[in-house]
């Protein structure tokens, strides 16, 4: 997993609530056995017209946002399916950070496993950043995970909360599995105890 410490980039505004994972990556693109290459189909149904050409109105097709690294969106972002293809597609496109008033649980988890930082901020602050994002490439937003702040182009700083373990993993690009495997003997003794207590499992 790539490390995440600081990011300074263009933020694309997506002022929709309940952006679901079917919107982020429709199911016809889930028939892959790989993690890469999903970026071209990110937001496929909104991004392309029926004939396959780009929809010029969709935010990521507008010249200012084609290189966006941050997404600012409405509440309950990432609801719906557990598909990790959603963060894979975001990442493949180049998005490393999503800012929203709230996130769906599984999506939120999946982001951290892929080096994407989901930032939850109060609605008014998201609204302010949304207005910032509307300014296009004139407004670069800075995200600093170490100090847990988002800084808008006018210098306004927005502190955010993040789970300390996840922060640690993201800052150091650590692989969860390797970390857990270090606890193998603890897992084995749990198994022995649980087996005695609940042998039917």
């Amino acid at each position: 997993m790539d490390k995440f410490d600081k990011l300074s980039g263009v933020a694309a505004p997506l002022p929709l609530v309940n952006v679901d994972t079917d919107m982020i990556i429709p199911k016809q693109f889930l028939k892959t056995i790989k993690r890469s290459g999903l970026g071209v189909n990110l937001f496929d149904e909104m991004r392309y017209q029926d004939d396959g050409s780009e929809n010029p109105d969709f935010v990521l097709n507008r010249p200012a946002y084609r290189e966006a690294q941050i997404l600012v969106a409405g509440e309950n972002f990432g609801c719906g399916s557990s598909r990790e293809h959603a963060p894979w597609a975001l990442l493949d496109f180049g998005i490393r950070c999503v800012i929203a008033p709230s996130f769906a649980d599984i999506f939120h988890n999946n982001c951290f496993k892929n080096g994407i930082l989901p930032i939850t901020l109060p609605q008014e602050q998201v609204d302010a950043l949304m207005a910032e994002a509307e300014k296009g490439s004139n407004a670069r937003i800075e995200v600093d995970l170490e100090s847990q702040t988002v800084t808008a182009s006018d210098g306004t700083r927005y502190p955010f909360e993040v789970d300390s373990f996840r922060k640690h993993c993201l800052l150091n690009g650590l692989d969860d599995i390797a970390l857990t495997l270090e606890k193998s003997s603890r897992i084995a003794s749990f198994e022995t105890e649980a087996d005695a207590q609940r042998p039917w499992v």
């Binding site: 929709l16 609530v17 079917d22 149904e45 988890n109 857990t180």
Partner: protein
Amino acid sequence: MSGKTLYDKIWDAHVVQQDEGTCLLYIDRHMVHEVTSPQAFEGLRMTGRKVRAPQRTIAVPDHNVPTTEDRANGIENEDSRIQVDALDKNARDFGINYYPVSDIRQGIVHIVGPENGWTLPGMTIVCGDSHTATHGAFGALAHGIGTSEVEHVLATQTLIQSKSKNMKVEITGQLMPGVTAKDITLSVIGHTGTAGGTGYVIEYCGEAIRSLSMEGRMTVCNMAIEGGARAGLIAPDQTTFDYVKGRTHAPKGEQWDAALEWWKTLKSDEDAHWDKVVTIRGEDIAPVVTWGTSPEDVLPITAAVPAPEDFSGGKVGAVKRSLEYMGLNPGQRLQDIEIDTVFIGSCTNGRIEDLRAAAAVMKGHKVKPGLRAMVVPGSGLVRAQAEEEGLAQIFRDAGFEWRMAGCSMCLAMNPDQLAPGERCAATSNRNFEGRQGRGGRTHLMSPQMAAAAAITGRLTDVREMMAPEPEPA
């Protein structure tokens, strides 16, 4: 100190190690399907890791599989075939329990698990699928995970988790005739919103929940995720024990007795602390349908399509967009909405009881000419039982297609899809844009309501069909 909730108890019994903020939780059952697992197995191969507990791991292809009878001859779509073949190979190479397409026990993973006794009270169960919440109906802590977590569970049989808050959803009293478990779960989401459960594990309780069969309870818990919750739970009781007993992988003999003793302790203490409580009177729940593109867009069938101005905040724009997508106008009566397709199936409503309920409405009726209607049983075993009970014949006689088991038109990854603009009465759980096919329009409802819609060709109040014949004047 206050008592513990059911969630607290299951959690505590599975803590391997408590770290700061997070916790390593042991996973009793890991269910796997073909869409969210290939990259996880690839990860194991790349790092030379093994599956830690293959005996606790169960795999079944369901999302991609065709539901036509000729599927035994192979899957035509190349990408689908590659995914199913990859699961075949991974199951074999890593030695996990497997139900291939050719096995009569194959079906939707959330139906296969309970049916074969893999799902038991008090367990922790995960699957790379958000509707894993279904298994919570047994009083098991069950939730969906992403593919990285699938790999984590395969390699370590644990998951790094932080604990959710406790939410109680109580449905008091009794349901009125024509009202089902599906109406309960949709109404709860209509009440709390799709983010209302975010950060919580929900325990459903109350008399109306207690009165439900296991099938009904699975329908309720299945959609906990649509309300944003990590999991839904129902405390196990005699109904649960009766369902579990005798199933292939359920405990037997002395082990059964020991298990039962523990299972009976699996309920929330009287003085348990709840972070949020929602109470709904069973009598107030009507047969409902969805009108929009979010499962929270729920109204009683007797209502009319709302206007964007009826809402506030970001929802105004969302409603505007969804009415346009759905091709509906504010004020239009829901019962006047004409449909093209009926889909009965999915892990929400593809169990035997659902098919019985739909068949009871269909009996002696025909699908309205011009409509396409299909029943996709949730598993091969459900299908066989429905054949035996004569339900399949009722559906066939009425003009339904009688399909093989799988997810099918619930998410349309196989050839069962809606055409753009086509409108479907569906018993599944998601009405997102494009969910059942690009441009397709989905109305969620109970199997009874879907059957009623099949007869009339429009969204229909099933209670009208149940009313006694009027006395001759």
